[in-house]
């Protein structure tokens, strides 16, 4: 030890003589064990996330509780139900805008003219959310209000009337008989309400 260096305290000496060698010796095996534990947990998390989507057993749903927070934080909590249980009808939103000058504009979300296609799909997913069974009534109401508010903001409209449009899928027989995919009879409209920009 150099003479100008202060003597080590008892704690520091103990740290150097016992704790540090212990850490050095066990650092790699401990790290390896921790990585393996995390790996098993992660694998459980990515399996339980889609498995716990209803209908799921109580066992699986309870098991998911152990990994749910991890899945949600890491954005892994997905069901991967692509076109499942089956490709269903489309849900759209039709709107009628009342402009400040009294004129009216009509439209539909998603608008097929939206480019690029990815942006079109983003809008389509918004309206598809209306048909989701997972939404509580309050969230659904808030979603409709948010759509009305955004439409009024985008188009500087005074008032907007929204309706949910369900586009039924045509059968093969219908098409073979000369039916078109956009046959007016395949659309069903359900009013969602009229909203004023002031009250939104």
């Amino acid at each position: 030890m150099s003479p100008d260096r202060p003597p080590l305290s008892v704690t520091a000496s103990a740290l150097r003589s016992r704790v540090l060698p212990f850490i050095r010796r066990w650092r790699r095996p401990a790290g390896f064990v921790l990585v393996n534990v995390w790996l098993v947990y992660h694998l459980a998390a990515i399996v339980l996330a889609p498995w716990s989507v209803p209908p799921a057993s109580r066992l699986v749903q309870n098991a998911w509780r152990a990994v749910g927070a991890y899945d949600q934080i890491l954005f892994l909590n997905h069901g991967y139900h692509y076109f499942a249980p089956e490709p269903g009808n489309s849900t759209l939103v039709a709107y009628v805008l009342e402009m400040p000058d009294g004129s009216q504009q009509t439209g539909r979300i998603p608008n097929r003219d939206i480019r690029p296609r990815l942006l079109y799909h983003r809008h389509f997913m918004l309206t598809e959310s209306l048909a989701s069974d997972d939404l509580s009534p309050s969230v659904r109401t808030e979603l409709i209000r948010a759509m009305a508010r955004e439409l009024c903001r985008e188009h500087h409209a005074r008032r907007v009337t929204l309706s949910r449009v369900t586009h039924r899928l045509p059968s093969m027989e219908f098409v073979r008989a000369g039916g078109a995919l956009d046959d007016p009879e395949s659309y069903t409209e359900e009013p969602l309400g009229t909203f004023s920009s002031d009250e939104l």
Partner: protein, 625 residues
């Protein structure tokens, strides 16, 4: 009451007065004492059972792997993330504003009992555009591989932040983007094909050029982390397909064979009219059932090397179909990008290297290659890009070394066919490397020394490895080390070695013979070899075939004898390596070498090396110390 009597010598370990005050130390000693209570046979079998379970697990997840597939995925997904976020930006306020499609109240209500998070919640509205542009910049840097350890993590945080803030506008694309970004952040995705790597290579090449040394840029390192990330991606894809299939089987249309019709007849998805399928219901049924069958079997068949290309090609066709007919190009491409995790890294690396070298040849033919008159920076950049086709710095010849300290592979794999071993792209003529005039033919290498012969030493004893490696380095060789035959096989498949020296003799004899025969069968594309196996001095074992390029000796050799034997099989002389040996000596002494092509450096006297003793192969004491 029966009281168990503990022998005094054993009980002393547990007596506090005699124990080390360190509690952990006491615990460890206690465990060791308890271990002695277990009969050795039980311990042995238990260890075997544990190894039978743990070794395949460790090999599957942690065997060092080539990071090239991860790098390719980084470029592809980096581009996809950049595009996805550019599109978010087309209506930034609509999707992320507090009063947009998904206003604050709505998303807060939706995620009330969730742990989903997003930095958008803490971003003031006035800074939305600035933050968005910053995110785009980070994603672009990630795609290019700049500051990848940082940008890969940031890219992941950006991806999940955007997706969590706009949950109702998400679909499959965002899920695939999220998991890919996660695994690219876990793995060393910037180890190859990146600006980071270019900068490392450039620095090394510039320093070596400035020193007048032969160019040897740092090699790509195989990494356990790369393997872990790739394996996680692969397993996650299998999980996705399993549950995608199981969820489909809950629907009637996937059973009655009309689901594909319903998907393509959906006007809102449709981007190309395929209603002609209505006249071919059998085709619709077939496509529906094939989709289910493929998704159902993906997780099992994709692991079979023979079936993997077929499985991935079908998957690629399905997702291209989703892109072409349903307009979801981004989703389809994202899934196809994820398939890169299943592609073999070595072959991918070799193809990319050949492509880069091809570009180098084209540039050279148009006299666009930097000559000796060009600046050091230009020449270093030329080498760093891997455009130099003649040098051993070219990526095809790059050693792919396991990262020191990485988990080593356990267990032995069967010797592959000769063709499999003979993966090196071109057989390099060593004679041409050792001739300075040949080396000088390359404009970028006029003032540098001939390339060092590269040697692969197969030796399991660490001290012996160090001794032999040091000795060969000192005498003008490049020496890499493999502890096991399978490790040597892996290295041979990616690196062009000039010679292979096996000094360890605890390998099973049949495996050693098969390995040796494989080398002979590979012809000139595989390195020359020297095998030292157990037995009497100077004899040739009966099971080994011997050729001038492949020598087998029984007994012990001094290091000098071994070196001379290696030179003999390589067709080289001691004289040809003297400049390299002298350079090594000077570098070690800390003097910067000032080598001129016509200089004849003085070679320091070679000390008498220690003898290599090789244990008898048939004696059965084959385990390394």
């Amino acid at each position: 009451m029966i009281r168990k009597v503990i022998p005094k010598s054993r009980s002393e370990h547990f007596r506090p007065t005699n124990c080390d005050p360190n509690v952990m130390h006491v615990a460890l000693r206690s465990v060791r004492s308890l271990k002695r209570l277990i009969p050795p046979a039980v311990r042995r079998n238990g260890r075997r059972a544990w190894e039978a379970l743990s070794h395949p697990w460790q090999r599957f997840w942690f065997e060092p792997a080539d990071p090239t597939p991860l790098a390719v995925m980084r470029i592809l997904f980096g581009g996809m993330l950049l595009y996805t976020h550019l599109v978010w930006g087309l209506n930034l306020e609509g999707f992320f504003g507090p009063e947009g499609w998904q206003g604050t109240t709505l998303v807060r209500a939706l995620q009330a009992d969730q742990f989903a998070w997003s930095f958008w919640w803490w971003t003031p509205q006035a800074l939305h555009l600035t933050v968005h542009l910053l995110c785009l910049l980070i994603l672009a840097l990630f795609m290019l591989g700049a500051f990848t350890p940082v940008t890969s993590v940031l890219a992941y945080l950006i991806t999940i932040s955007y997706s969590s803030r706009a949950p109702m506008a998400n679909y499959g694309l965002d899920q695939i983007n999220g998991l890919a970004a996660l695994y690219l952040a876990i793995g060393p995705s910037g180890q190859a094909l990146s600006i980071d790597r270019f900068r490392r290579r450039f620095r090394a090449a510039r320093e070596q050029l400035a020193d007048g040394l032969a160019i040897f840029v740092p090699p790509v390192q195989a990494s356990s982390r790369a393997n872990l990330a790739l394996r996680l991606m692969q397993v996650h894809l299998c999980v996705i397909y399993v549950f995608a299939c199981l969820s489909k089987l809950q629907g009637e249309s996937w059973w009655n064979g009309t689901a594909i019709w319903q998907a393509v007849a959906n006007l809102e998805y449709q981007s190309r009219d395929v209603t002609w399928l209505a006249w071919y219901p059998w085709l619709v049924n077939l496509l529906t059932h094939a989709t289910i069958a493929w998704e159902m079997t993906f997780w099992a068949l994709v692991w079979r090397p023979m079936l993997r290309p077929f499985v991935l090609l079908v998957g690629t066709a399905i997702h291209l179909g989703i892109g072409a007919f349903m307009g979801m190009w981004t989703f389809g491409l994202a899934v196809i990008f994820a398939y890169v995790a299943f592609l073999p890294g070595k072959q991918m690396s070799a193809i990319l290297c050949r492509a880069v070298q091809g570009i180098g040849r084209i540039l050279r033919s148009y006299n666009l290659a930097p000559g000796s008159a060009a600046s050091t920076r230009a020449r270093a950049a030329w080498f760093a890009l891997g455009l130099d086709t003649n040098s051993d710095a070219a990526p095809a010849a790059e050693p792919l070394l396991p990262v020191p300290g990485e988990v080593s592979t356990a267990g032995k794999t069967p010797l592959p066919a000769v063709a499999e071993v003979a993966a090196p792209t071109e057989s390099r003529s060593l004679a041409s490397q050792s001739v300075p005039a040949e080396a000088a033919a390359s404009p970028g290498r006029r003032k540098v020394l001939p390339a060092r012969p590269s040697l692969l030493l197969v030796e399991g004893r660490v001290k012996r490895q160090a001794d032999v490696q040091e000795y060969f380095l000192k005498h003008g060789f490049r020496c890499h080390v493999a502890s096991e035959l399978h490790q040597a096989r892996s290295m041979l498949s990616v690196i062009d070695f000039d010679a292979l020296v096996v000094t360890a003799s605890w390998f099973p004899e049949d495996e050693l013979v098969a390995f040796h025969d494989g080398l002979i069968g590979g012809g000139s594309s595989l390195p020359a070899s020297v095998f030292l196996v157990g037995g009497g001095h100077g004899q040739t074992p009966h099971h080994f075939e011997e050729t001038p390029r492949h020598r087998v000796l029984l007994g012990s050799l001094s290091l000098r004898e071994l070196r001379l034997l290696v030179l003999e099989v390589l067709g080289l002389t001691e004289e040809s390596l003297r400049p390299l040996a002298a350079r090594h000596a000077r570098s070690k002494n800390g003097h910067r070498p000032a080598i001129a092509p016509d200089s004849t450096p003085k070679v320091e006297p070679i000390p008498q090396p220690p003898a290599l003793d090789v244990p008898n192969l048939s004696s059965g004491n084959g385990s390394p110390p």
